[in-house]
């Protein structure tokens, strides 16, 4: 049995694995951004069916563990006849997860816009698409920035669960190095530190924007 010490090499292998964590987070965030916008729009729609579907989607994804969502996509791909691929399964599951959470966050932001804005836009003859695009969404997006950055932190942390279905990102790389070096204290300390370096600036940013925003809106 070969046990190698935890040295500078092992440290860099773990740090470099963060690129997969970042890539997975970026894909899920981009996909979740598109999905979340659709969910949010469906959730505030005038038609009943899209509203019901979006509400159900949000309920299910906010009421079940992310780990189970990952497992279901992972094994579900096999049932649908695709080869099992942890990378794709993780990207799909996290995208769906992000869509539900961003959809719920952005619904709140859209509903926070005073109804008079929408009525005025309708009175000026703007149809749904233009009303959303030029009147409602630009205002809602200002409110949305801080909680969205806050959710990004949650999403980055969530990508660690991809390690359980075998995708080699930061946490999984830590497990692999730990199996070779048997120094869990150093290994998982390093892994935690890398996540902290990724997440903390975003948390601070989210908090600062929140304070700035609440100052600009209270008179």
């Amino acid at each position: 049995m070969l046990i190698r010490p935890f040295g500078i090499n092992e440290f860099w292998i773990i740090v470099m694995a963060a690129q997969w964590t970042i890539a997975l987070s970026a894909i899920a965030f981009a996909g979740g951004g598109v999905g979340g916008l659709l969910i949010a729009l469906a959730r505030v729609s005038d038609a009943k069916l899209p509203r019901l579907l979006a509400t159900g989607f949000i309920r299910v994804f906010q009421g079940t563990p992310l780990l189970m969502q990952l497992f279901l996509v992972f094994f579900g791909m096999n049932i649908l006849g695709f080869a099992i691929n942890p990378w794709i399964a993780a990207a799909v599951a996290l995208t769906l997860h992000a869509s539900a959470f961003l959809g719920e966050i952005w619904r709140g932001c859209i509903e926070a816009i005073p109804p008079g804005q929408r009525e005025a836009a309708t009175a000026l003859g703007l149809r749904y698409v233009n009303r959303m695009r030029y009147i409602i969404l630009p205002q809602a997006s200002r409110i949305a920035v801080a909680p969205t950055v806050g959710f990004l932190v949650q999403l980055i942390k969530g990508t660690s669960l991809a390690a359980i279905i075998g995708f080699t990102e930061l946490t999984r790389q830590g497990q692999i190095i730990n199996n070779a070096t048997f120094s869990p204290f150093m290994v998982f300390g390093t892994v935690a530190a890398v996540y902290f370096v990724l997440c903390w600036p975003l948390s601070l940013l989210a908090r600062r924007m929140e304070v700035k925003f609440s100052r600009s809106t209270t008179r």
């Binding site: 299910v60 009421g63 079940t64 563990p65 992310l66 780990l67 189970m68 969502q69 497992f71 279901l72 094994f75 579900g76 096999n78 049932i79 932190v153 942390k157 969530g158 660690s160 669960l161 390690a163 359980i164 946490t171 830590g174 497990q175 730990n178 120094s183 869990p184 204290f185 290994v187 998982f188 300390g189 892994v191 935690a192 996540y195 902290f196 997440c199 903390w200 948390s203």
Partner: protein, 222 residues
């Protein structure tokens, strides 16, 4: 076309129920102990001793900016290096308490900040002791104000607790892993477990709103 086979899941359903019961126990215990940790930390953050405030701030920031999976690996695999060896179930409980404590502290602190200063001054004027003021004038209304935030944090804690299956604690997700590797009916097992988690989170939401209606009947002042 894939043939769904739920028979092995039904055959092992008693094990899943047992796992669900462990998940409920684990979450409730973590919530109660975590709430005590949160109240202590929130009280500590109002302390005049600066190093104490720094330690609490560091604790909150570290826990909130690292994944739960890494925290539990650190506690389960890393702490034995310091001579602290925990069984999977106790490591799971410790990790959940530590995790909930960090989020809970922020929630409780927000509640304490919502108490107006005049209330505390009125308490002092009435000759209440410091502990009495903290308990009756600060904590009681503060807890009521943050009750909705605390309950949704509890649901989140229960869902997060599925991650403790990664160190093979005895919770619902771990019971599912066992059943999955014994039957190979992977999708069927996990769809049933996911449904069980969904039922638990809907159930707990319902219980919490019942408690809210029963316990907080007197009007909320603004």
């Amino acid at each position: 076309m894939y043939n769904f086979n739920f028979e092995p899941v039904l055959a092992g359903f008693d094990k899943l129920l047992l796992g669900a019961w462990v998940t409920v126990q684990l979450s409730c215990a973590a919530m109660l102990i975590g709430l005590i940790v949160s109240i202590l930390c929130a009280a500590g953050k109002t302390s005049r001793v600066a190093p104490l405030r720094w330690v609490i701030d560091a604790y909150i920031e570290i826990i909130r900016n690292t994944p739960f999976l890494v925290q539990i690996f650190f506690i389960f695999f890393g702490l034995p290096a310091l001579g602290i060896r925990l069984s999977p179930n106790s490591a799971a409980l410790v990790a959940l308490v530590v995790n909930f404590g960090a989020y809970g502290t922020e929630i409780i602190r927000a509640g304490i900040e919502s108490i107006q200063k005049g209330q505390v001054e009125a308490g002092t004027a009435l000759g209440l002791s410091k502990l009495q003021i903290f308990r009756y004038i600060i904590m009681k209304p503060a807890l009521r104000t943050v009750y909705p935030a605390l309950t949704s944090q509890f649901i989140y804690l229960m869902l997060t607790s599925s991650v403790v299956s990664a160190i093979s604690a005895d919770d619902l997700a771990a019971a599912g892993n066992d059943l999955q590797s014994a039957t190979f009916a992977s999708f069927e097992v996990y769809i049933v477990i996911t449904a069980m988690y969904l039922i638990m989170s809907i159930g707990f939401s319902a219980i919490f709103s019942m408690i809210e209606r029963a316990a907080f009947r007197y009007p909320l002042s603004r």
